[in-house]
Symmetry: C2
Subunit: 194 residues, 2 copies
């Protein structure tokens, strides 16, 4: 007899087939008093709501250069991103942004203001990027990054950026900096065209 | 034989006991390459991540008066709130804010800028409030509101507001308006003291 194969782990899809509370099969319908379909358990009564996720990140700089990380994970393996990731329970978006920056690049930063708030409804996400100043030049990329380095403005790999939220945040940052650095919070929505 | 009792429905708690994909019991541990505990299914491999939720709402005004709704639901039944609720899949935060305003008060609004971004880590939420101008004075509160009405500044029921995010958003709005109405996006974090 061979040992059981360890499963390949994967993030659970949004759609439930079984109730997380009692294990019974769920049904997909509109609960009384609601106006959209949910996964409902008619055995124990649990309603399995699903909501958009928040992605938190930073625009980290050191002596005017901008920190980017080359992704070691899908999606967008081997493209360049600002450090960012899913916000976790129990943290503020600022704490999450600082945590992701440290995890992905090893950079310790002093967080600045909330800089971009970007709705991305087609992927059910809201992205929040903070300005951040590195406390030193040292980098130590974690397992989610192939590499982390600082870029001069002219070196930014525009054709190899991971996500539109990264590209648009960088564009606005560089524009604001050229105009003298009066940074305000930018809010916008990305449409589904690319 | 009597018919089976219909269950009392309730939002499923964060913590899973069974896998939503295959119905097997889950275990609580740190996945390889991760740094926090998740509910994991060792049968099919599904990882059940949980993330903070986004609450979206508006500061609706009509001829300078501010719209509040008296809650017909828990938590904070029978207290006054700005129209707001959980952001849904497939919508932008602006669309969600407009939807919640219509559902809770019947007001149709022209949405203005993103006004407050409030981290509330102790309840695992981020709140986003938009400025909004009502397109007319008509109100038609839905089942989640006992009542909806417009308030002059002096009438605002400060001691009967539902949430600190509502009170702090109203305070900032009235301050900005007194200073001449140069509205910027405010971002702040509520600590767990009340």
């Amino acid at each position: 007899m061979s040992a059981p194969q360890p499963p390949a782990y994967f993030p659970a899809p949004r759609r439930a087939r079984f109730c997380s509370q009692c294990g019974s099969p769920v049904s997909r319908r509109v609960p009384d008093g609601d106006n959209r379909e949910r996964d409902l358990c008619d055995h124990c009564g649990a309603i399995h709501y699903q909501n958009p996720r928040v992605v938190v990140g930073t625009v980290p700089t050191w002596q005017g250069r901008i920190l980017l990380c080359r992704r070691a994970i899908e999606p967008r393996y081997d493209t360049w991103t600002l450090p960012a990731g899913f916000m976790e329970l129990g943290e503020s978006s600022a704490q999450g942004a600082e945590r992701e920056t440290l995890e992905e690049s090893g950079a310790r930063v002093a967080l600045g203001q909330l800089y971009t708030v970007i709705d991305v409804p087609q992927v059910e996400q809201v992205h929040l990027f903070y300005l951040a100043e590195a406390l030193g030049p040292a980098l130590d990329p974690g397992p989610e990054s192939l590499e982390a380095r600082y870029f001069d403005e002219a070196e930014i790999p525009w054709d190899d950026l991971s996500f539109r939220t990264v590209a648009t945040t960088l564009q606005r940052y560089l524009d604001d900096r050229r105009r003298g650095g009066a940074f305000q919070t930018h809010h916008y929505t990305l449409d589904s065209r690319r």
